[in-house]
Symmetry: C2
Subunit: 134 residues, 2 copies
DNA sequence: TTCTGTGCAAATCTTTTGCATGGCA
DNA sequence: TGCCATGCAAAAGATTTGCACAGAA
């Protein structure tokens, strides 16, 4: 509980019971969706509003205190082809196919055998790196 | 155009101009979102409905003709920590942290230097592999 | 006391569904 | 001809916004 409070103290966000509850839930579960957070917090905190969860998740993300695990991004589609990895630009959303490197492939196969794997690398593409920062 | 038609012929789906247009758009762009598909097709095909795009994208996905690139999945959040990869179960949605393997890490760094990387491995977790197929 | 955060309600956006009509096989 | 696909409109779901009040600093 101490650590969570200090996360907020070191940011531009005020300490509120709602924010502490959200962080506590994330600490407990490791990963949680908006709904999961809402349902759990509502039990001890019946008056909390979904809008508050959304607003706080967005503030906490902007401050870098929390991260979004499945990058929220419009889903895109492609005609199915042989397995390959994807490079997805976090700024412009462009998707590039990249061949599934043998080294990576074997390495993951060792760790997660018999499992359909899909590899995504999120980054900033060459173009966006040139034109503007962050 | 010939190949696209045969994709449908070999499936349980009927050949319609709308479906061919969607596949053609995906072939041209490589990857496209629902909106992008809709906007482009509407130009030559003003009467097409967004619902038709959605329905067809879902049918084409079920037939395995197309794939979803950013797996549509409720976004989840976590307290920010040192870089690590995520294993995400495609069935139950559970997220597991996995350490960023040195081999993988270096390998990607060589290919995509100076780029904030996030690695996701989508698969079926041990639990779901046990309980039921597919 | 000041200013940010909360909670409600409404607005907006995204996706799905029902149904009558149209078109492929 | 039979049945699946389309297009419209409405429904359902997800997320954002505006505003008045409450609470943190």
């Amino acid at each position: 509980m101490k650590n969570l409070k200090s996360l907020l103290e070191e940011s531009n966000l005020k300490i509120t019971p709602q924010r502490l509850a959200i962080l506590k839930e994330l600490e407990n579960k490791g990963h949680a969706s908006i709904e999961e957070i809402y349902e759990t917090i509502k039990e001890m905190f019946p008056s909390i509003s979904l809008a508050t969860i959304y607003k706080n998740i967005n503030s906490l993300k902007e401050e870098g205190i929390i991260s979004e695990v499945c990058l929220h991004q419009k889903p895109k589609f492609e005609i199915s082809k042989i397995p390959h990895a994807h490079f997805i630009c976090k700024k412009c959303g462009k998707v590039e196919d990249i061949p599934l490197n043998e080294v990576i492939n074997k390495n993951i196969e060792e760790k997660y055998p018999n499992s359909h794997k899909e590899l995504y690398i999120y980054g900033i593409c060459k173009n966006c790196q040139k034109n503007g920062n962050s």
